[in-house]
Amino acid sequence: MEFLATLFQGVGTLFYQEPKIAIFRIVLIFLGIVFVWLGQRGTLEPLIMIPMGFGMAAVNTGVLFFSADKLGTLFTDTLAEDTESLMYALQVEVFQPIYTFAFGNNLIACLVFMGVGVLADVGNVLRFPFTSMLIALFAELGSFVTFPIAVAMGLNYAEAAAISVVGGADGPMVLFTAVILAPEIFVPITVIAYLYLSLTYGAYPFIIRAIVPKHLRGLVVKVSKKSDITSGEKIAFDIIACTFLCLLLPVAAPLLLSFFLGNAIKESGVTKYAKLIEDVFLYTATFFLGLMLGVLCEASTLLDPRVLIFLILGIIALGVSGIGGLIGGYVVYLISGKNFNPTAGIAGVSCVPTCAKIAQHEVYLVNKRAVILQYAMGANICGVIVSAILTGLFVSVVPILMQ
């Protein structure tokens, strides 16, 4: 028996672990397979879920004996903190260099954000700055509602802030906040955040249909003639907004710099840099983000009673933000003399460009002539800016409140 356990260590270790961890390992292996399947079908975001599912399945199968009483994997060691154990881990664990040099210091979040900057068009923010910002502020409601609920459920301020940022629906932002404020629970929080963000495609249309009646969803907005926004104006916005926000929120400066720099590069027409960031940085970072999240999903890490609390809080945060965005849409609808389609409000939840696409799709299903994408994209980009402001605020203030 001992010989077989040594020969097939992935199976053998199941019998040497606590039963609840062994059972949870099997659950996670199947969950990883399900993620790959759902990613391949397009039900969940394939860019994240396929590498994550593979990582999750592999890390929970590939457990081996390091010594008679120590089990582990050859993927990564998140607990290596002192120089000696870190150097050992860097030599032994395959993905340790990525974890240490790109994950733990948030480089990966910044690279994803730079890519989002290249994909984003700030022209609609410049056309409708107040409308877009107002909607984005309403669509951040979930974060503020979740924070006191999280504290009431027993989390400390740092953990509550980290899970609240899920309401901003921005993966890199959640990762950034969790790594800084609550590094010991950043894995479950980030996994839950990305899982829920993948599900927005499925859930938000129902929220829209429940809150916005059909005749309003099909509303055609009369557009007054707006002047074109030039590339120079967009770059001016990028550098001014970046400088101003970095000045106010230095802790979030890396994220802000990444986003605005990415956008300025796109607008400046340096196509080689833009292609490099979009095709190489963004997709490399997203791939390793998914893979690392999967690899970090070890049974012992996720077998934390607080994971259930995070699952509940994540749903509250994203749900309330979606509803808040639609309320914002209604507010603009009333302010503008009923010349605004409130469906665009959901795009204030900043998951770029998913939420804007969902809003336009829902409108299109009711009225094929109604186009709200320009308002939705404006709100979407402002959602990113508002999420970055909130992240900077949490990261700056919460450690002071914890003292």
Partner: protein, 51 residues
């Protein structure tokens, strides 16, 4: 109760900063357009005809 007030304070700060950004956008656009020389309407067409 204390946490609700804290969350409201956070919200208020975020609203103020976000609205400042919106004002900066508006002000910047006005300034940029003020200092950008305007092309005379029809000048391009007239130039093309002259060719």
């Amino acid at each position: 109760m204390k946490e609700i007030i804290l969350a409201l304070e956070f919200y208020l700060i975020v609203i103020v900063i976000a609205m400042l950004v919106a004002f900066i956008i508006k002000g910047m656009l006005v300034l940029v357009r003020l200092f950008t020389p305007k092309q005379v309407a029809g000048a391009k067409d007239a130039g093309n005809k002259g060719k």
